[in-house]
Assembly symmetry: C2
Homo-oligomer: 468 residues x 2
Amino acid sequence: MPNDLTVRVLDALDSARADTEASLIEWLRIPSVSAQPAHAADCRHAAEWLVRELAALGFEARLRETAGHPVVIASHPGPQASPGKEVPHVLIYGHYDVQPPEPLELWNSPPFEPTLTEGPRGPRITARGAVDDKGQVMTWLAALRAWHKVAGGPPVRVTVLVEGEEEIGSPSLDPVLEAEKAALSADVALISDTNMWAPGVPALTVSLRGMVYTQIDLRLGDRDLHSGLFGGSALNVLNLLTKILGELKDENGRVRIPGFYDNIPEPTAEQRAAWDALGFDEAAFLGNQGMSTPGGEKGRSAPERLWARPTADINGIWGGYMGEGTKTVIACEGHAKLSCRLVPGQDPAKIVEGIRQFVQSRLPPDASFTLQVFGEAPAVAVPPDSPWLAAAEAVLAEEFGRPAVRAGGGGSIPVASSLKSILGLDCLMMGFGLDDDQVHSPNEKFELSCLHSGARSHVRLLGRLGGR
Amino acid sequence: MPNDLTVRVLDALDSARADTEASLIEWLRIPSVSAQPAHAADCRHAAEWLVRELAALGFEARLRETAGHPVVIASHPGPQASPGKEVPHVLIYGHYDVQPPEPLELWNSPPFEPTLTEGPRGPRITARGAVDDKGQVMTWLAALRAWHKVAGGPPVRVTVLVEGEEEIGSPSLDPVLEAEKAALSADVALISDTNMWAPGVPALTVSLRGMVYTQIDLRLGDRDLHSGLFGGSALNVLNLLTKILGELKDENGRVRIPGFYDNIPEPTAEQRAAWDALGFDEAAFLGNQGMSTPGGEKGRSAPERLWARPTADINGIWGGYMGEGTKTVIACEGHAKLSCRLVPGQDPAKIVEGIRQFVQSRLPPDASFTLQVFGEAPAVAVPPDSPWLAAAEAVLAEEFGRPAVRAGGGGSIPVASSLKSILGLDCLMMGFGLDDDQVHSPNEKFELSCLHSGARSHVRLLGRLGGR
């Protein structure tokens, strides 16, 4: 049970709901799209916004410059330490950058004009970044504001680390972590960038998949050719590209990249039973997206395929004539973006090499290709007996009136592996998104109920960790 | 041997070379791109230009309106007929529209600013349409100008039919041919839209491949999805698209579209020997394009694969994220343009149905697709004992000092089948393009030597057919 101080902080938070929503809306207006150089200034503005907000709460907050977008680093010493009593030190991680909004024509409201609408479960905010990740960072900011208002500050030492390149693979982050080890030291990292199990059912994400993201650029011939004059003699790079990528998986959904499955442990019977006990409703999960038939490897359950098995997805493909009508061309270039989600045991560098071999071994003599690598990060697993997990489970049960689900995460938060490998921090991943929030899609939204119960959960967690 | 009148016409033609080149350059400046609605007015201007030029030669010339771009129809009665002597009536076909010039950045000079440069075999004009087809139509226009200057008009009855939609499948032409049967009646159609065998070696094209051109629009799911949250559960439309198209051909280059090879006659041993005797140098043919290894069906010679076997080429493909960097998306739509060159025996409508079945039979339950059909035309074969062929062979031998090669055409001129089926006309196909003219590619060019020897050949042919 929360003690009296925490209850008062919760009350203050509840009273400030309108301010919390207005604050998030203000931050969402800034089109901080990290993947598009035209928005570099907007990224900086989004970072500066957060620096100001944290400074107003007594944090020492600064913009840490990088070769790319700046990183927000802020720290608060917490309460006066009682003699002999050490105060826990948490590091809150998030990102202020957002995915590109395209395709624009599919949005019901403009992606950077946050719009409140009424949904089946109550009101929600629709905007790019509404949940991923500004809305989730706001659950922390609102909690810190409430602690500041009632108690003058948080009940633990707090460091805030909010970067601007998560959506593009965080290229500038690791050097910052290396250089700022002292400033970023802490006992545990807290990340809100994952989902609840279901509306009203909280989750703790205890594993994350890793990722490699590549682009295949294939070339065959010096120039585009006339398909009548050359068809039947010249090889066609787009026929080749589809043939290669069409062999990516066998009829059982197994990926044919060499070495792909090396060192991936088979789950224990116990783990499989735990997954089965979740009652994951794949029919509803896919049904919400207009699908009925699952993909992935045959013979494995949905939680296993989503959390503990790797994937190979083509994210984009292009080449030849893409305009109106006809052009009878045999193109000389074709391209595809291919990314793989990874699980513990897989080495990102070896997977990249496997992709390279997979393509190279299927090339006829005249074809050449380059492989661009945009990002590499291994999978992450949280120790199941972590005391931080136990604290989080307690506060989530209090807030939601039912136990949290220990779930795997299908997505990747590459920074989680960097925080572990460079700063030695385990990550506690307690997030408040929902599966139908349409992250990375048009009409991304965040339920207001999730925003507020997330902030309340964070108020409780800080209180519990601080012994308050 | 040409008679005295024809010799004088040849001299007049030679004296007018600079005017011929200037006239072609003027016509090439007009960006008559039929596939792009933004250029509709330019198409009309290119047609009007030709009407004026023919009217100046005593033709009754008009713009025949259609649902799309207008058709130029012009006629000249020829010489006063001697009693008892019937004058042959030829119909000259061409097209004033051109292919889209994209990608623009690969042109050495702007596609609609015709540029004269010196090449290995002499000067050439570089522009979109330089050879396909304005340059080749100019070989006729220059010949008619010379006959007009010396003899007051051509020595045969001449009808000119120049349309503006050949590059987009001539959708408006058949209704015009049906409606204008009287105005378009003739003894033979003359088409200059094919190639010489080699520099200095003329060819008569005695067969053309047909074509079907389709677009596959594949859909799976209601919206784009996050590849982490859904990868391993949701099917991916781009993985599906590549798998389907990757199965288009087997390891021997044989196309798997159902019914594709039905009713295609195997060539006779005699035909194969004739092809072998051509000494077609495929290594050089492909080597000029930066390739060394042929595609097409194993075990067949290059002339057979290029002229007498059907193809299935992907002309364009697109879907998902195609911008800079990364977007971890599972798209819900993918598209491809797929066209097939056809040979005698294949029914275009059946091939379209085969494509439909090929895709449909490979779709999982959640996927849907539409097939757009942009064009359908059967293959064409010219009777080998045609007297028109014999006349053409004679004049080409005179002009070039060596026999013409009877070659198949790899490309399609769908109008040739329409001229046969609707107007009952066989087509004589005598063209002056070269394999390295880069038709349908950036930096399309026409050698001035081909322009002038083509016009000279046409002067000779008109003279021979008119008994002059």
